[in-house]
Amino acid sequence: MKVRAGGLAALAAIAVVALTASAAGAKAQAACGTVTLNQQAWAGSEANTYVAKNVLESIGCTVKITTIAEVPVYQAMADGKTDAVLEDWGHVPQQQQYVAKQKTVVAEGPNGVTGVIGWYIPTYLMKQYPQFKTWKGLKGKETLFKSPESGSQGMFLGGDPSYQQKDKVLIQALHLNFKFVSVGAEPAQVARWTQLYKQHKPVLFYWYDPQYLNAQYKLSQVQLPPRFKGCQDDETKGGNPAKYACAYPTYVLQKFFSAKFAKSGSPAVAVLKRFKWSNADQNSVAGAIAGKHMDPDKAAKAWIAANKAKVNTWLGK
């Protein structure tokens, strides 16, 4: 009897252990652990980061979001503290250093969004002065854009110091009578041009797309000279201004992963590799978050619910 009872107990114990182990095993297979995504400062990045977060959460990942600045985040990826950046606007020196040389960060290709940088004016102004369609139309009309700080010249509102720009040298190369006024960070620049926009005054500024404000304000692009072979974009290199006299390139926005993450075998890697959407997708989510002050998780979930097919391709279904 005693032995039997003991045997039974042992059997029960083995069963319990086996059951727990199999449950744990099943769990380990499904779990992808913690994935850390970095959200860049602008609203578009918040949009794609939160959509990716909610998609990854639906397959059982825990997602953390960091908000590290654009350049330091490369070191964060090298250390494996941030796993992925889903929207990078081309940081050439970092890519040379971290991707090509150290191989601590991996380029994972485009996220489907194309970035456009250029000179913008309000559409009401374009209607009034159709010649502003190209930069040549600005010639002689610069004083229209006069402001208290531009003296006798017209004012050109420069962009956020962290963004790619070459407007100073472009103005010089095109022999335009503009004073480049740096108004600082993007929120400060937005304050400047929206205030003029609301008063229906003329304003010319550095701007880009995709940007959620483009849904709220009607803006038109001033065409810059077409790109030619060997035309330059990195203002800091100096040299002959004429070499810069071309439009900005279109930016194919890229995804970057930490090398550690890329090799981790986590199911999140495959999903994020397939992650791809359009400017319109990004603008609709960013507009909901920044324009309508929707909770980013809710905005992302709403978009996911409305775009099941696209999300399923990311999930490999």
């Binding site: 070191q75 964060a76 971290y98 402001s147 600082g184």
Partner: protein, 654 residues
């Protein structure tokens, strides 16, 4: 009495400058003539510039990164890694502890610790702060920021106070450490953020390291000032009675320097909290991250998060002050019976915290408060206010906008073009001569050297002159506002009480949070930047001037009163001259604070050096960022020496 006699035996201030001021004005007129005669014709010559430095610095950073990011980095990198891990763990441990206590336990712990050691008033303030964090719906980021700040302030004080005591007792150490502190405060964090990230990686560790660089200097400076303010005769008396150096320090100097020691704790807390946003850029998490992303996509949320930083600052400050006062041995004489009661009280508090934690777990309170919050309601109100500010058809806009335009057109722009367009030889020699006439030979040589450094090494002449014109205006306003308000606060308790929360707000509310709405009201460059500088720098000046005047020993004041001097006479003839050192530290800190926010000014439209530094971090132009920062530092040293030259000489040869 002796001190009063000493102050009378000094040459009366004001007597020496008549002739020199005249000479300085003549030099200024000469520069002006040079400006009109050779406007824009002699910018700093490229042949006098060392061009490769920026590139070398870039290479250095790449080298650092390439050697750090290998599988087995050298021992130096591993040492940094160790420090970073220690700091990461410290902050991480604090954070998880506060989360594990549940929101109920954390609230109870904070409130009761302050109640037990600081009294009812301070405890109520702390409790109100906790309630407001919950109501704002920012519990999670607040806890993270608190852990970060607690670690930073603790380490800053642990390093700063002893060094401050040393600097207070040794003239030599004071002389060595002062320029280092100037550099730590003036060089913008943006310039060294990238090397810090390479060495410490991202996360709380890097955030604490960055915060320490900025928060240690006030701890050292103000402590040293306090130790130096203890009357010499008291120290001599203690030594005559046979006290050892340590005894003199512990029983005489530190107790008598109490008020300034408290100010140094207060300033360390505020300085640490003013780094929260920067810390957010390198993975500090918490409120800084909320502010940064809010600025781009939800300004109302950025404002609310900024308010949470301010509330934390006020609560921390009041709590530490109350606890320091309550436990002041000079005012505490405990009998055995009282000690027993206090022990019981402590035990009761501990039990209450335990109970709160237990109940928190029993009812599943959760690590952070996220049930009902007033966040949406608050955001609605803030958004309404922002909408009003952003509307160019309001009554207010029609007043503010023309004022801004006028200031730029007839004040700041002409001044800027004067500095930028004057031929460089006139500027360098002229400013050095003015420094000579105002302050003497040494400051003049330093001014000249700094200007040469700006032109020849940093390659930032034009930007530096542009920044200089703005910095001069901002410093002038800072002192014009700060010194009188500081004197007023010293003389009137009510003024002091009214000003204190306002000063706390101005020192800790992230500038971008309130300056960007201001740009909507005054959409023009430079003015918002100058305003940001004045609003940030004036509180420090006010506080130092106030503390200095209140610290003046009561005997000469009483003596002057006995001779029948009026209150105004006592103030002007006794208190202000005796508080000279504190007032001059106020001037020095005013200049430094203005320069410390040059980058913020650059981010709200002042351009020039601040913009270059910001661009340096964000577009990986490390060399450019460092050189622009050096130019800011050079401006700071030159300005400081010109304003302080005579005082230094006085101390050194006295």
């Amino acid at each position: 009495m002796e001190a009063a006699a000493a102050s009378l035996s000094q040459p009366a201030p004001g007597a020496w400058w008549r002739g020199r001021a005249g000479a300085a004005i003549v030099v200024a007129i000469a520069i002006l003539i040079a400006f009109f005669g050779w406007k824009n014709q002699l910018p700093w010559p490229a042949s006098l510039t060392w061009n490769s430095l920026s590139h070398d610095l870039d290479n250095f950073q790449a080298w650092l990164s390439n050697n750090r990011n290998v599988p087995h980095p050298s021992i130096v990198f591993r040492a940094f890694n160790g420090v970073a891990n220690f700091l990461d763990n410290l902050v991480g441990w604090l954070t998880s502890l506060l989360f594990k206590l549940t929101w109920a336990g954390t609230t109870m712990l904070g409130t009761l610790v302050v109640l037990r050691f600081g009294g009812r008033r301070a405890a109520l303030i702390v409790l109100a702060a906790f309630v407001s964090f919950a109501a704002m719906g920012l519990w999670d980021p607040v806890v993270r920021t608190f852990a970060l700040t607690f670690a930073s302030v603790g380490l800053s004080l642990a390093i700063g106070l002893p060094l401050g005591v040393w600097a207070g007792r040794s003239d030599r150490f004071q002389r060595i450490v002062t320029p280092v502190l100037d550099a730590m405060q003036i060089i913008p964090a943006f310039a060294y953020l990238m090397p810090i990230v390479i060495l410490f990686s991202v996360g709380p560790g890097a955030a604490v390291a960055t915060t320490l660089i900025y928060a240690i200097p006030p701890a050292i400076r103000i402590t040293a000032l306090g130790i130096r303010g203890v009357p010499t005769n008291t120290v001599e008396a203690a030594e005559a009675l046979g006290a050892t150096k340590m005894q003199t320090l512990l029983k005489v100097q530190l107790p008598l320097a109490r008020r300034l020691l408290l100010l140094s704790v207060n300033q360390t807390i505020l300085f640490a909290l003013s780094m929260v946003v920067i810390a957010g850029l390198i993975g500090g998490q918490g409120l800084g991250a909320v502010v940064t992303s809010g600025l781009y996509s939800d300004p109302a949320l950025a404002l609310v998060a900024g308010a949470a930083i301010v509330i934390m600052a006020i609560a921390l400050d009041r709590a530490t002050e109350a606890m320091a006062n309550r436990t002041d041995p000079a005012h505490r004489h405990l009998t055995e019976g009282m000690k027993r009661t206090l022990r019981l009280y402590t035990a009761a508090c501990a039990a209450a915290v335990g109970l709160a934690v237990g109940l928190g777990y029993a009812f599943g309170a959760g690590s952070s408060w996220n049930r009902w919050t007033a966040q949406n309601w608050l955001l609605g109100y803030v958004q309404d206010a922002l909408n009003y500010v952003q509307n160019p058809n309001t009554f207010v806009f029609h007043i503010t906008s023309p004022i801004g335009n006028f200031l730029v057109q007839y004040g700041l722009s002409p001044l800027q073009s004067f500095f930028v367009e004057t031929p460089w030889p006139a500027m360098t020699f002229g400013l050095a001569l003015i420094a000579y006439f105002i302050s003497g030979l040494r400051p003049a040589v330093i001014t000249f050297a700094m200007l040469a450094l700006i032109g020849g090494v940093t390659n930032e002449w034009t930007n530096a002159m542009e920044t200089l014109s703005q910095v001069l205006v901002a410093t002038l306003f800072t002192l014009l506002v700060g010194i009188p308000l500081g004197i007023w606060a010293a003389e009137s308790l009510r003024a002091r009480q009214t000003m204190r929360p306002i000063l706390d707000v101005l020192q800790t509310l992230p500038q971008l949070v309130y300056i960007i709405p201001f740009i909507y009201l005054m959409p023009v460059s430079i003015v918002p930047g100058v305003l940001a500088s004045v609003l940030y720098a004036a509180p420090v000046v006010i506080r130092l001037v106030e503390a200095g005047i209140r610290e003046v020993s009561p005997y000469p004041v009483e003596a002057a009163g006995a001779f029948g001097a009026t209150r105004l006479q006592v103030l002007l003839k006794v208190k202000i001259p005796l508080a000279r050192e504190a007032i001059m530290l106020g001037v020095n800190q005013g200049i430094i604070m203005v320069l410390a926010v040059v980058v913020i000014a650059g981010l709200v439209g002042s351009g020039a050096l601040g913009y270059d530094v910001a661009q340096g971090l964000q577009q990986s132009l490390f060399g450019q960022g460092v050189l622009a920062s050096l130019a800011i530092l050079a401006l700071g040293i030159a300005l400081d020496r010109v304003t302080q030259g005579r005082r230094r000489k006085h101390i050194e040869f006295a």
